[in-house]
C-alpha cells in the first residue's frame, strides 16, 4: 500500500468515526427527551433515536468499507492533488476576523478586511507573485467597493439589519 493510499484510508476512517461519534452524541441527547407519546404511539424521542441509530449504522458501514478497500464509487481527483493549507489559513483568518469584529468595526470595514484576507489566500494558492503593498491596497479598495454598496442596498432597500460603523446609521 502506498503512502498516499494509506493516508486516504486514514482520512476515510476518520470520517466514518466522525459519523459514529455524531450518532452516539445524538443518542446521548435522546436519553433525556421524554417519550410521552399520547395517542401518537411514537413520542418526541422516536426520531432522535432513529437518527442516532441510523448514523451509528452508516458510520460503522463506512468503517467496514474502509477496511475492505476504501469508500466505494469515489470520483477521483486530479492526480497529485495536494491541499494548499497556507491559502486556507488566510481565508479562515478572514472569516474569523469578520465574525469577531463585525459588531465593533461595522459591516463594511469588517467585510472588507475579510475580503482582503480571503483574496490573499486565493492569490497565494494561484501562485501569484505577491507584488506587495499595491495588491493589498487594491484588494482593500475592491472590498470596500463591494461591501459599501451591499451594505447600503441591503439596509436601505431591503431593511436587513447590518451593523453600521456609527450609531447614527449613515455608515
Amino acid at each position: 500500500m502506498s503512502h498516499d493510499n494509506r493516508n486516504a484510508s486514514l482520512l476515510q476512517a476518520l470520517v466514518g468515526l466522525g459519523v459514529v461519534a455524531l450518532g452516539l452524541g445524538l443518542a446521548l441527547g435522546a436519553i433525556s427527551i421524554p417519550s410521552a407519546a399520547g395517542y401518537a404511539g411514537v413520542g418526541p424521542n422516536f426520531l432522535p433515536w432513529l437518527v442516532s441509530l441510523a448514523l451509528v449504522g452508516c458510520g460503522a458501514f463506512m468503517l467496514y468499507e474502509v477496511r475492505t478497500g476504501g469508500f466505494r464509487h469515489m470520483e477521483e481527483g486530479p492526480p497529485g492533488e495536494k491541499p494548499y493549507w497556507s491559502g486556507f489559513v488566510w481565508m479562515s483568518a478572514g472569516m474569523m476576523v469578520n465574525a469577531a469584529l463585525i459588531t465593533t468595526l461595522g459591516f463594511i470595514f469588517s467585510c472588507s478586511l475579510c475580503f482582503v484576507l480571503a483574496a490573499r489566500g486565493m492569490r497565494n494558492a494561484e501562485g501569484q507573485a505577491s507584488s506587495g503593498l499595491k495588491t493589498w491596497i487594491r484588494d482593500g479598495v475592491t472590498g470596500l467597493l463591494i461591501a459599501a454598496p451591499v451594505y447600503w442596498l441591503f439596509t436601505k432597500f431591503l431593511a436587513i439589519n447590518l451593523p453600521g460603523l456609527t450609531q447614527s446609521g449613515w455608515l
Binding site: 399520547g38 404511539g41 411514537v42 413520542g43 448514523l55 452508516c58 464509487h73 469515489m74 451593523p163
Partner: protein, 503 residues
C-alpha cells in the same frame, strides 16, 4: 375556465411595475449566479432569504423564482464557454456544447440552449398552470399516512438513488434530519438538542446551513485545491442559428421537454437523469453526418435536447413543491424555507388559501421566461464578461455575500462562527463525495415528515399498520421499496448472468 380567470388575475398582480422589477432583478441576478462559477441558485436564494423579513411574500417569491430560473439559463453559458461545467444540470450540455464551441460554433450552441430553455420553460409552465390545480385538488384527499409515504419517497430518491453511493447519500440525509431535530418539537413543544441555548429553540437557520454548505465550502475547496487549475475559455462567435440548426433543434427541444417534465413532477428530483436520457435519445435518433458530430465537432441536438430537458424538469418541479409541499432539490427545498418564513406551508391548501400568491408566481414564470430570452440572447456578451472575474475577487466577494445572508437573519456574530463550522462540514462532504441535497432536503422536510408520521400513527390509534391498510399509502410504500431494491436487483442479476456467461 376558472384557471384562466385566476391566471389573468395572476398576470395583473405580477404585471405591476414593482413586481415586474422584482422579476427582472431576479432573472438578471439568476443569470449572473448561473454564469459565475462557484455560486448557484440555491446559494443565491439562501443568501437572500433574510429579505423575507421585510419584502412582501408575492414580490419575494417572484424574485426567488426569477433567480431559480435565470440560473438555469446562465449555467449553460458557462458550461459551453468554459471547460469546467458549473453544476450537474449543465454537465450534459457541456459535453456537446464545449465541442461545438471548440469548432467555432459557440454562438449557435448558446442560441439553441437559450431558445430551447425558453421553449421548454414555457411549455412546462403551461403544464404547471394546467396540472398543479388538479394535483392540488387530488392532494386534498391525502391524509397523513400518504403524505408521510410521499416524503419517504422524496427522502429515498434524493439520498439513495441520485449520487454515487447510497451509503453516503443516506448518511447525508440523516445528518440533515439531525440538524432538523434541533429546536422545538412541532407536536408536543418539547425542546430537543438545544443545550439550553434559547436561540436554538427556533431551530438552526436554513440560511446558515445552505450558505455554509454551498458558498463557504466552495470557497474553501477553491483555495485548497483549485488554485493551480487553469481554466481555458472558448472563443465566442455570433449568436445565431442557421436554417439547418433550427431544423435540427426544434424536434430536440420538444423531445427534451417531454422527457424532462415528468421527472420534475414526481418527487424523484434531480436533473441528471432526464438530461442524460435526453442526450442518449438525441444521440440514438441522429442519423448520418449529424450522428458523426456527436463527440467530435459537437452536435447541436446534444445541446438543444438536454438543455430543454433541464429547464422542463426544473419548472415542473414546482408542481410537487406547490401542491404537496415536497421539495426535490436544493433550490426547491430553500424555496420551501422561504414560504415557511412567511408562515405559509405549501401544500394542497395553498391554491385556496394563498391563491393570489400562487397565480402571481405562475404568471411571473411566463414573464420571466420572456425576460430571460431577451437577457440571454442579445445580451449574452455582457454575461460572458463575468467569466473574466478573477478567482481571488470572486471567492472573496462570495464570502461578503455569505456574511450578509448569515448575519442578516438573526444579527448574531455567533452565527458567523457557526457558518465557518458548517463550511468545514461542507468541505469534508465535498472531499469525500457526500451529496449535499439530502442534507438540505432532510433538514427542511424532516420536521414535516415527523409530524405526518406521528399524526398518521395517531389515526391508526397507535398502530403503524395504518400505512398498510390504506391503498394509496400501501402503493407508495411499494414504490419506495422498489426504488430501493430494483436497481440493486437488476445490477446483481446482470453481474450474475455476466459471471455465468464468462464462467
Amino acid at each position: 375556465m376558472d384557471i384562466w380567470n385566476q391566471l389573468i388575475q395572476g398576470f395583473v398582480t405580477a404585471g405591476t411595475p414593482v413586481n415586474l422589477l422584482w422579476a427582472f432583478v431576479g432573472c438578471a441576478l439568476g443569470t449572473a449566479v448561473g454564469v459565475l462559477p462557484g455560486i448557484g441558485p440555491a446559494t443565491a436564494v439562501a443568501m437572500l432569504l433574510p429579505i423575507t423579513a421585510k419584502v412582501d411574500a408575492t414580490a419575494s417569491m417572484i424574485f426567488f423564482a426569477g433567480i431559480y430560473y435565470g440560473a438555469m439559463y446562465g449555467g449553460s453559458t458557462t458550461s459551453i464557454l468554459l471547460n469546467t461545467p458549473g453544476e450537474t444540470a449543465s454537465m450534459v450540455t457541456a459535453m456537446e456544447g464545449n465541442k461545438m464551441a471548440k469548432s467555432g460554433r459557440a454562438g449557435a450552441a448558446l442560441a439553441t440552449s437559450a431558445i430551447g430553455s425558453f421553449v421548454a420553460g414555457t411549455i412546462a409552465t403551461i403544464l404547471v398552470t394546467l396540472f398543479a390545480p388538479v394535483v392540488a385538488e387530488f392532494a386534498v384527499k391525502l391524509g397523513p399516512p400518504e403524505y408521510f409515504m410521499l416524503m419517504l419517497l422524496a427522502f429515498t430518491t434524493v439520498s439513495a438513488v441520485l449520487g454515487q453511493s447510497t451509503l453516503r447519500g443516506l448518511t447525508a440525509l440523516f445528518v440533515g434530519l439531525a440538524l432538523g431535530l434541533v429546536g422545538m418539537d412541532q407536536i408536543t413543544g418539547q425542546a430537543r438538542y438545544t443545550g439550553g441555548v434559547p436561540e436554538l429553540l427556533d431551530g438552526i437557520e436554513i440560511v446558515l446551513v445552505a450558505v455554509g454548505l454551498f458558498a463557504v465550502a466552495e470557497a474553501m475547496h477553491a483555495v485548497l485545491f483549485e488554485g493551480r487549475v487553469v481554466e481555458s475559455e472558448n472563443k465566442m462567435s455570433r449568436v445565431t442559428m442557421t436554417r439547418d440548426d433550427w431544423r435540427r433543434s426544434i424536434p430536440a427541444w420538444l423531445r427534451g421537454t417531454f422527457i424532462g417534465a415528468p421527472f420534475g413532477c414526481i418527487p424523484a428530483g434531480g436533473t441528471e437523469i432526464p438530461t442524460f436520457l435526453s442526450y442518449a435519445a438525441e444521440k440514438k435518433l441522429a442519423k448520418g453526418p449529424n450522428q458523426a458530430e456527436f463527440g467530435t465537432k459537437g452536435a447541436i441536438e446534444g445541446v438543444a435536447g438536454p438543455e430543454a430537458a433541464n429547464n422542463a424538469t426544473v419548472t415542473a418541479a414546482l408542481i410537487p413543491l406547490l401542491t404537496l409541499g415536497i421539495p426535490v432539490s436544493n433550490t426547491t427545498a430553500i424555496l420551501l424555507g422561504a414560504f415557511q418564513n412567511y408562515g405559509i406551508q405549501p401544500g394542497p391548501q395553498l391554491f385556496t388559501s394563498s391563491s393570489a400568491l400562487v397565480w402571481a408566481l405562475i404568471a411571473s414564470l411566463y414573464i420571466g421566461n420572456v425576460m430571460l430570452l431577451v437577457l440571454n440572447l442579445p445580451l449574452v456578451g455582457f454575461w460572458v464578461k463575468l467569466l473574466k472575474v478573477p478567482k481571488p475577487q470572486l471567492y472573496a466577494g462570495i464570502l461578503i455575500f455569505a456574511t450578509v445572508g448569515a448575519y442578516g437573519m438573526r444579527q448574531s456574530a455567533f452565527d458567523l462562527f457557526l457558518l465557518y463550522a458548517i463550511g468545514l462540514l461542507g468541505l469534508v462532504m465535498r472531499r469525500f463525495n457526500f451529496p449535499t441535497a439530502p442534507v438540505v432536503v432532510g433538514m427542511i422536510l424532516g420536521p414535516l415528515a415527523e409530524a405526518q408520521l406521528r399524526n398518521a400513527i395517531s389515526i391508526g390509534e397507535g398502530s403503524p399498520m395504518v400505512f398498510l391498510q390504506r391503498p394509496m399509502s400501501l402503493t407508495l410504500l411499494v414504490i419506495v421499496l422498489s426504488v430501493l431494491v430494483l436497481p440493486r436487483a437488476v445490477k446483481w442479476w446482470n453481474t450474475r448472468s455476466g459471471a455465468a456467461k464468462s464462467g
